[in-house]
């Protein structure tokens, strides 16, 4: 929009002048049009608050806001100007023509007072419009920049009571003075007074009265014209104060502009052209027609409506003015050679611009675009009929301008769909349009990038037109050739564009740089497209951009654009070859000019590909690439990667097999395929280097010239076997050819014919021994081209492809490799042939057993091996193990560490046995026995070979047992108080203290169960007394007999063993409870003859013996005399120190008859026992009889004592059962 006066195109907002804050240096009043001068003697407010106020007013300045209703609704409502104490208003009406300052030689008429008009009116001589111009942008400027709608004057409000009256009077005078000046100026600018209090108002209690006084004396409205800022206001309060002023006076200011509108409308409606100050005096100058006046008024009305932000009203006025302007009476009436014609045309543009803006303001995007189109069509029609036609460069220049204007408006309007997120490319039509209406695609309002792009298209056409200007019009018109100038003026449209001699200057003259114009506009378009991530379009425009640079011969700029474009463009990855080609050729051209040899070679490499259209005249020979290019750089060194270039060379790498073993011969192939243009020269590669990941050495293939040229190397397919040699040997003599990799690893070197013809597939077949185990993958092939002029490396990575790779086995024989990644191989370590074997392994091992395992190490290798073993037992609390050599115990013992146990040399096909000793394990558990043999062959000491084996050992307990602990009748007499017994050996050692207390007999029955997997022999069973508590002695005795050969316990069988346990209290007086801790020790061995005896100790639950409570035991014995008679004894024991009385009650039973006391009362003295005998005659034989219901009751405690059975008896829930032996025959 730079062709239009900025007043014409900027959006109008109310104008506000703020004076009296800070110094006078802010006074920018324009003196040229000086009219009334507002001055004041009062010092400006210069406190800190003033600074804050200034900042707040500056923040509310609306001159730079976007052109839409959203932003104008905020606090930015005014165009704010901050001045000092002085402000100069422009003249309202022109000076009379006879003033001495403006002498008018043509008949000053003093008799009739001249009618004075505005300085900007076509009626005022001296105005630029006089006598028939329509409009001057200064009028808009006047209202936007010079005549404020409100004038705010800030004053200091003193708090000093002494000075108050004086200052208040000064204030009143000053305010009234300004009011008077404003009134006299003829403008209806509102005066607003704002008082800034100096310090606390509390000190001057009369402030309120003083304010009232000032208001009354100046006639200011306290609500809308007089503002008071209390002292010590915070920044927030000051901001609120400024906001309050702005929001209060805003409606008044709108009213101000409405008054101006009314004034204009009145004048328009009057319909009379006022007489000019002085009539036109010279020539046939005509005056402005009444329609012209109406255009003028409509524009004013529209602008004033914009001041009021009433866009609908503005559009109406503009549309009316526009129609009038383009109507038959205004523009049609002006001759096209007249400068007024271009002025009127400019005015029509301004109307259209303002209409489009107002439409966009209201959100009518499609209407705006339509307005844009229709204006263009109207003007085209006009230019065709009345002007110089629409096929001139001037017209294209205007078209370009018109598109740029649209772009800039759309940008300035800041439509949220375009600015937020940048995801919309165009707007949908507004809702007011009927659905299904036919729309031009561009009528969907597109974002500014498209409009800029449209402008560039017109700029290009403008250039085409300009280049067609005949030479005679292009010469600079001299002062003499006036006729030619006039001629040009008739034939060339120079509306907002230069005359032909500047548009397309003769060589040597300055003129328009079309390419630069296009370049700049394109850059703007690119910026917009880039914001919206239209990368491909950006790339497309970048090509144009570079082309324009090249047209200007700005090669470095072109290179600067093309180089990154060529590298990053999406065309290549997406396969748009014609676009790639375009960029590539352009880059080559620019690079050749700049002398960037690297870029030239890169492009030439790419352009060899068959996808691109061949250029017949081009040599297509890399070696000739740099011909005719002057170097600015040293010898170019180029590295290209396959991802960043569309290379004609491609390589695949394949191993024949997916797996190989160390020491085996491995075959692999590198296939190089050329897709170069058939007309291109063969490319001779200096060397190919294949890099591997993992355990393979890099491979280098060097070019070897083959003298025999005809040997089929031009065939489409060429398979050659290449023998490889290690680089170590050649490192010394061939410095240049061999490049060792940085890590210093050696590489394989081979030689082959690397001249590759277009369309050829060359396969190189290699084979080498695999040396290291692990995975190896061919990563990349680097093609190096080293020549005197340049060095080029092309790196291709081998990617996984979905196409199966091919294995070439002959000239035409090939097979597909159906592996996901043929370029990788798994190299397995050399298989170990030493075996580890456990011999004589038992099915099951038990706890508490000494385990000895026999490990046989068999050497299956062809040569002698030196072997060392590493044996570990892994598991919870694994015991330390030891190794010994079975055969040679004498020296194997000393080196029995299980880790790194040297077995020594074993001859081929021999074996030796190592014993693994595991000490007895207490708890059942599972262990892993890991055995690892590391060895090397005597023939190859370098390569370590490993073989591992592992065995799981599970250790279980061979036995488990449960126990029964029952009382028995002790045969000995109880000690009696009445028998005196001297205690000797009182002072004897405590080891053999004689026990004097009560003795008891118990029976421990143990039932043990074998969990073993095979038969075990039990040699002995014993009860071990581990501990006694409660001062007793204890002896045990096994009752059950064990044969000398031991008990043979088969798996899962239950055995029983009984033990007598005798306990005796050490002291008779001791009656505390005593316990026994015993364990059962089973001595067993395996059934094998020489197996060792193992002891399994089973814990027995704690046994409770010897209480002080009375107890009742029952025992049975059989009469020797009467065969059928059974003696049933009830033994009552009273170990306490009390006399106890028991009641005895024996119930009769159906199973037997008995004799004895059926009911009795028994008195037991302390420490005594008593036996009650019953004689039973059972009615059955060979059976259990009972229950014998014998009830013993403690008389005192009324407690029934339970009768404990002893041997030969058992208890069921009702009583005791007694065994009656069968009748003997």
């Amino acid at each position: 929009m730079d062709g239009y006066a900025s007043a014409y195109v900027t959006h109008n907002v109310p104008y506000l002048v703020v004076s009296g804050l800070g110094g006078a240096e802010r006074n920018h009043a324009d003196i040229k049009v000086a009219g009334a001068r507002i001055t004041s003697d009062m010092p400006p407010v210069d406190s800190e608050d003033a600074e804050v106020l200034i900042r707040n007013f500056e923040d509310s300045d609306a001159s730079a806001i976007s052109w839409n209703s959203r932003t104008s609704g905020g606090r930015k409502k005014f165009r704010v100007k901050i001045v000092g104490r002085e402000y100069v208003l422009p003249r309202r009406s022109a000076r009379p023509p006879d003033t001495p300052r403006l002498p008018d030689p043509h008949g000053p008429n003093q008799v009739n007072r001249p009618i004075l008009h505005s300085t900007l009116s076509p009626l005022t001589p001296g105005s630029s419009l006089f006598p028939d111009g329509i409009f001057d942008p200064k009028w808009i400027e006047k209202h936007q920049d010079f005549v404020p709608s409100a004038y705010i004057s800030f004053y200091k409000f003193t708090s000093d009571p002494k000075l108050a009256t004086l200052q208040d009077n000064q204030l009143k005078t000053d305010i009234n003075n300004i009011k008077r000046i404003l009134g006299q100026s003829g403008y209806k600018t509102r005066l607003i007074v704002a008082l800034v209090s100096e310090s606390s108002i509390l000190k001057s209690p009369g402030a309120e009265d003083r304010l009232i006084n000032i208001r009354k004396a100046t006639g200011l409205d306290s609500k809308t014209s007089l503002f008071f800022l209390p002292p010590q206001s915070s920044a927030v309060e000051i901001q609120a104060f400024v906001d309050a002023i702005i929001s209060t006076i805003y409606p008044l200011c709108i009213e101000y502009y409405r008054d101006l509108s009314k004034h204009s409308r009145r004048k328009r409606n009057r319909g009379i052209i006022p007489p000019p100050t002085s009539p036109p005096t010279s020539g046939t100058l005509q005056t402005l027609s009444s329609q012209g006046w109406n255009v003028r008024y409509d524009l004013k009305l529209g602008v004033l409506a914009e001041f009021r932000q009433e866009m609908d009203a503005a559009v109406r006025s503009y549309e009316s003015g526009y129609e009038l302007l383009l109507g038959p009476d205004v523009l049609e009436a002006i001759a096209s050679w007249n400068p007024r014609w271009n002025e009127a045309r400019l005015l029509s543009d301004v109307f259209a611009i303002r209409i489009i803006r107002c439409l966009l303001w209201n959100g009518s995007s499609t209407a705006a675009v339509r307005r844009w189109f229709s204006h263009r069509e109207r003007i085209r029609d006009f230019v065709d009929r009345r002007g110089k036609g629409s096929s001139t460069y001037g017209w294209e220049a205007w078209e370009a301008r018109w598109a740029t204007v649209m772009a800039e408006i759309v940008k300035k309007v800041a439509i949220p769909d375009f600015t937020l997120g940048h995801t919309q490319f165009y707007l949908h039509p507004e809702k007011t349009l009927p659905i299904g209406e036919r729309l031009e695609p561009l009528e969907y309002l597109h974002h500014p990038g498209y409009w800029f792009y449209l402008a560039t298209e017109h700029l290009v056409r403008r250039r085409t037109r300009a280049l067609a200007i005949p030479e005679e019009d292009r010469s600079v018109p001299g002062p003499s050739s006036a006729s030619q100038t006039a001629n040009n003026a008739y034939s060339y449209d120079t509306y907002l564009c230069p005359p032909p001699h500047e548009e397309y200057p003769l060589p040597g003259n300055k003129g328009v740089d079309h390419s630069l114009l296009i370049f700049q506009t394109l850059e703007k378009a690119i910026a917009e497209f880039d914001k919206r991530k239209q990368s491909r379009l950006v790339h497309e425009l970048s090509i144009q951009l570079a082309n324009e640079s090249m047209k200007r011969e700005d090669w470095s700029t072109a290179l600067h654009i093309l180089r990154p474009l060529w590298q990053k463009m999406s065309f290549r990855t997406e396969g748009w070859w014609d676009a790639v080609e375009e960029v590539a050729w352009a880059l080559r051209k620019a690079a050749a000019q700049v002398g960037d040899g690297g870029a030239v070679i890169s492009v030439d490499w790419e352009l060899l590909h068959r996808s691109f259209t061949p250029r017949p005249e081009w040599h297509y020979d890399l070696t000739k690439s740099l011909e005719g290019i002057e170097y600015t750089l040293a010898k170019p060194v180029v590295v290209l990667h396959d991802q960043e270039i569309h290379s004609f060379l491609s390589a695949t790498f394949a191993f024949e097999k997916a797996e190989g073993k160390v020491g085996e011969l491995c075959h692999y192939q590198l296939a190089v395929r050329s897709k170069a243009l058939p007309m291109s020269a063969p490319v001779t590669i200096s060397g190919i280097r294949v890099e591997f990941e993992g355990s393979m050495k890099p491979l280098e293939l060097q070019h070897k010239k083959i003298i025999d040229e005809n040997a089929g190397d031009r065939n489409d397919f060429d398979l050659s076997r290449v023998s490889l040699s290690d680089a170590f040997s050649e490192k010394r003599d061939s410095q240049s050819g061999t490049r060792l990799s940085q890590s210093g690893r050696s590489s394989f070197i081979g030689e082959g014919n690397l001249a590759i013809w277009p369309g050829q597939t060359k396969v190189f077949w290699f084979s080498s021994l695999l040396r290291e185990a692990g995975d190896a993958t061919a990563l990349s092939a680097t093609f190096s081209l080293n020549s005197e002029l340049f060095d080029l490396d092309y790196v291709q990575r081998f990617e996984t492809t979905t196409h199966p790779d091919v294995w070439w086995s002959g000239d035409f024989a090939k097979k597909r490799l159906l592996r996901p990644r043929p370029s990788s191989i798994t190299i397995l370590p050399k298989p170990p042939k030493v075996e580890l074997r456990l011999v004589e392994l038992q099915d099951q091992y038990y706890a508490n057993e000494n385990i000895t395992l026999h490990l046989e190490v068999v050497n299956g290798e062809d040569a002698d091996s030196s072997i060392s073993l590493d044996v570990r037992l892994l598991g919870d609390v694994a015991p330390p193990i030891s190794l010994t050599m079975a055969a040679a115990r004498d020296y194997g013992d000393k080196d029995s560490s299980p880790l790194g146990f040297a077995v020594g040399k074993i001859a081929s096909a021999e074996s030796s046995i190592v014993e693994i000793h595991i000490p007895p394990i207490d708890l059942p558990s599972t262990y892993d026995l890991m055995m690892k043999a590391s060895y090397h062959l005597v023939s190859d000491m370098e390569t370590p070979i490993y073989h591992t084996a592992s065995v799981q050992l599970s250790i279980i307990n061979p036995f488990e047992a449960n126990y029964d602990f029952a009382p028995r009748v002790h045969p000995d007499q109880w000690p009696s108080y009445f028998n005196h017994e001297e205690i000797f050996n009182v002072g004897a050692t405590s080891g053999n203290v004689k026990a004097h207390g009560l003795a008891q007999k118990w029976c421990l029955t143990s039932r043990y169960f074998s969990f073993a997997a095979d038969d075990l022999i039990i040699e002995d069973l014993d009860i071990e007394v581990l501990n006694t508590n409660g001062a007793i002695t204890c002896t045990t005795k096994r009752i059950s007999d064990i044969p000398i050969s031991g008990i043979r316990v088969s798996p899962k069988s239950l055995e029983e063993a009984e033990f007598d346990v005798f306990t005796q209290k050490l002291s008779l007086d001791d009656r505390t409870t005593a316990t026994l801790d015993v364990s059962l020790a089973i001595k067993w061995r395996r059934e094998k003859g020489d197996s060792a005896l193992n002891t399994t100790i089973l814990a027995v639950p704690r046994l409770l013996v010897s209480s002080s409570e009375p107890r009742v035991l029952a025992s049975v014995s059989y009469s020797a005399t009467v065969p059928s008679m059974v003696h049933f004894d009830v033994i009552l024991e009273n170990p306490s120190n009390h006399f106890l009385t028991f009641g005895l009650n024996m119930e009769p039973s159906e199973k037997f008859a008995f004799s004895g006391s059926k009911q009795a009362t028994l008195q037991l003295v302390p420490l005594s026992r008593r036996t009650i005998r019953f004689r039973l005659i059972p009615f059955v034989r060979g059976d259990w009889i009972g229950p014998i219901r014998c009830l013993i009751r403690d008389k005192y405690f009324q407690k029934v004592l339970k009768i404990a059975p002893t041997e030969g008896m058992k208890v069921d829930k009702e009583g005791i059962l007694v065994w009656v032996p069968p009748e003997e025959e």
């Binding site: 165009y426 659905i435 031009e440 498209y450 449209l454 379009l537 396969g575 979905t802």
Partner: protein
């Protein structure tokens, strides 16, 4: 004499949906002169750049469709207006193949009688007819057992063949030449 819209270019842009391949290559481009014997409004290169630039919009819209759940019909409607004459319309099949029709808004000069019924500009969705016809032709092409889509949009690697089917090319030619705004069938 009035100018009515005509098809300036039809393009098929391939895509391999099974892999993350970046290939979005032109499978087919047909360019139509506005009148028989006239030169097309742009060069083949320019048309291919125009087709390529529509990918920007396809991508942006697809991204927006993912979040809004729109675009199920595949019709992208107006992609953008390249300038005051050319506008690109787009369609995406559910396998990701994209059809683009570049319409020349002043493409065909018609006599006054024809012009009376014609108005400039296009209705929304007016291009659906073209895309449906293109899709039918493309489906017919895919039914040909000798046509291997993977050859044309390779799952990996670069490049890809263009459609060489004579029948498909003829279909496109017929489409581009016969279409005019307001047609009900093709």
């Amino acid at each position: 004499m009035t100018a009515v819209p005509s098809i300036a270019c039809l393009g098929v842009i391939g895509k391999n949906v099974y892999t993350s391949s970046t290939i979005k290559n032109p499978l087919h481009i047909s360019i139509f002169p506005s009148q028989p014997g006239n030169k097309p409004v742009r060069t083949p290169l320019q048309f291919s750049l125009i087709l390529s630039s529509t990918l920007d919009i396809f991508e942006a819209r697809s991204k927006a469709n993912v979040s809004t759940g729109g675009g199920l019909s595949g019709d992208f409607g107006l992609l953008h207006a390249i300038d005051e004459r050319l506008a690109a319309y787009g369609f995406e099949t559910n396998t990701g193949v994209r059809f683009v029709a570049v319409v020349d808004m002043r493409g065909r000069i018609v006599g006054d009688e024809a012009a009376r019924s014609q108005v400039t500009g296009l209705r929304e969705g007016e291009m659906k007819l073209v895309f449906r016809a293109m899709q039918t032709a493309y489906v017919r092409l895919l039914q040909n057992p000798f046509y291997d889509p993977d050859e044309h949009s390779p799952p990996a690697g670069k490049g890809g063949k263009k459609i060489t089917s004579r029948k498909f090319t003829e279909d496109m030619k017929r489409l581009g030449e016969t279409w005019a705004p307001g047609l009900a069938t093709l």
